[in-house]
Subunit: 355 residues, 2 copies
Amino acid sequence: VGQVGDGSRSARRPTMTDVAAHAGVSLKTVSRVVNGEPHVSPDLAERVRASIHALGFRRDASARQLAMGAAGRLLGYIQVDAANPFFGAVARGLEEVTLPHGFLVITGSTDADPEREGVLLDALVEARVAGIVVAAAEGGDEILRQELDHGTAIVCVDRLLDGATCDVVTSTNRASTRTAVQHLLDLGHRRIAYLGGTPTVWSAQERRQGYLDALTAAGIGADPGLLIEHVDTSTLAAAATTRLLEHDAPPTAIVAGQDRIGIGLIEALHRHAAQHEVAHIVFDDLPLGGQLEPPVAVVRQDATELGRAAGRLLLQRLDDGTTAPARRIEIPAAFEPRRSASIPPPAIDEPDRSP
Amino acid sequence: VGQVGDGSRSARRPTMTDVAAHAGVSLKTVSRVVNGEPHVSPDLAERVRASIHALGFRRDASARQLAMGAAGRLLGYIQVDAANPFFGAVARGLEEVTLPHGFLVITGSTDADPEREGVLLDALVEARVAGIVVAAAEGGDEILRQELDHGTAIVCVDRLLDGATCDVVTSTNRASTRTAVQHLLDLGHRRIAYLGGTPTVWSAQERRQGYLDALTAAGIGADPGLLIEHVDTSTLAAAATTRLLEHDAPPTAIVAGQDRIGIGLIEALHRHAAQHEVAHIVFDDLPLGGQLEPPVAVVRQDATELGRAAGRLLLQRLDDGTTAPARRIEIPAAFEPRRSASIPPPAIDEPDRSP
DNA sequence: TTGTAGGCGTTATCAG
DNA sequence: CTGATAACGCCTACAA
């Protein structure tokens, strides 16, 4: 099968010089053929191509890049965890727009550890990536800012950089949450609970704000007992849901500000046979294959589109240079109401407690 | 904030020569300091370090690699889809063992398209990756074999290469499936159905074989009506389950040979209120957060460990060279019986039809 | 249409 | 301990 090169010997990769010798032409002629430049006689070109094939020559991108002075065709993507489908989907979107432009993507996971993020950043810069997309860990902003100052092209995804002025792509966390809560208000609900994740995470903050926005706009004070945060696992979410249901004045509707929370919420409602009594809206942060089927609505974030947008932004930045002003893109998290099974709020038996 | 370099100007990255000039030493001295080589007087070293910091110098990995002649610290990982949690988990495991050795990983998705796989392979080789881990697409084997012949270090994950002799890491697909079916047989089940995915996919073939192995060993002929393949989505799995339940002689147990199939299976059983009547065992190909809770058993594949093993194999191959014999590693897919709720087989009302 | 000279940023070799 | 000088593989000029 191995058509040439005998396979076993892994001596040294053939170079253009080798090809030139084999074909009996000059180095430059080989270069021209390899790069598809014009001004090469057909028969010479053919001879060169034959030698390339015979020797199994592959151009060395590093040397090419070194000689051309330009930045290489390598990008970096620093994510929290490659095994997390959300970040995986972002990676997918990123590839999708950058590969066709000839850019390869180096990926690395940080587990949200700023130190690992720093190490990765360092390695990527040494590898001379043309630019970096980063789903930043909480607490690593200082280093990112330094890198930004040194002229590295950086695009943040899913989160803003603390007091920084760099390109960023996020979902419409705040607005979409507000829409969701508004929808419940429109349906007549007044006691709406919110289950949110770690409040130090930027997107969690935004979503909570959206919840509060809607309540404020409706002139309803937020009941502290209905706003539960630090709900980081589906188990915690289930527990929190149970607690809400056993509340003196239980909510008539619950919003889950994240997909994992949604899973726990639905499970708990199911266990309490309350899934047809308590209206609920959950965030779906990734294509979970329709496993999240809340009766009222779902807020669907498009992780892949986040990745695509980040890629486009980065490519644009590479064209414009560091002088162009920072851009900010918000990808709409779709609000999908389900009209089939809207749970009506309970009849108002008692006077509204709000002023 | 920007401690130096004034930020905005993105003129040219400072080189060792620049540092040497700034520090008033020779190029080589800078090189020594950067690489932590000995034989440098402390004060000179300090002066150099100061200049490095002042100029914001970063070593150029390309040039370094070019000068050293050796292969770079870059690896490739060709996956089917970065957004698929299985491949994401593999990527994660791969990183986990290679990053500490100073290797960065370039990832790319193929969507199981051999052509895209070829393009990626090409790009990776040009980028001078030291080695490649590939979750190969069906039909791209010829190109991979060629690359292998040219001396590229390649490790296959989750699938064998057709008639190839390269390092490979897989799960114990066949053995684990056999164990699962055996378990049902031990419980007294005789009519055991199997839902499998696309039979051209290697792992699907293996799992089906494991199913048949167990039946054969028990002296039970495989009922063609109980072996359903091409079940590629959870929807199809649900439909197939329904069909099985409406069968003249429905199975008393069902095995789902893949996680997506398992989701459809469980959903359908639930819908038919048969989840406590039909014993079932499902594959869990990734940490799905315990969403798959079959009553009898689960077969859990460890995708991250697949990635780790692939990484270790690749690093080893890079040490040994291409001459060392190909290795094959099987990562055990854990069989986890649930004793809490084993569904007993029905009493045998009719004589066993098998000879 | 073809070939020659010089340099990209780094490391290795060999003198001081 | 320190420093010139020659590679490494390729590309951009500039000749022939």
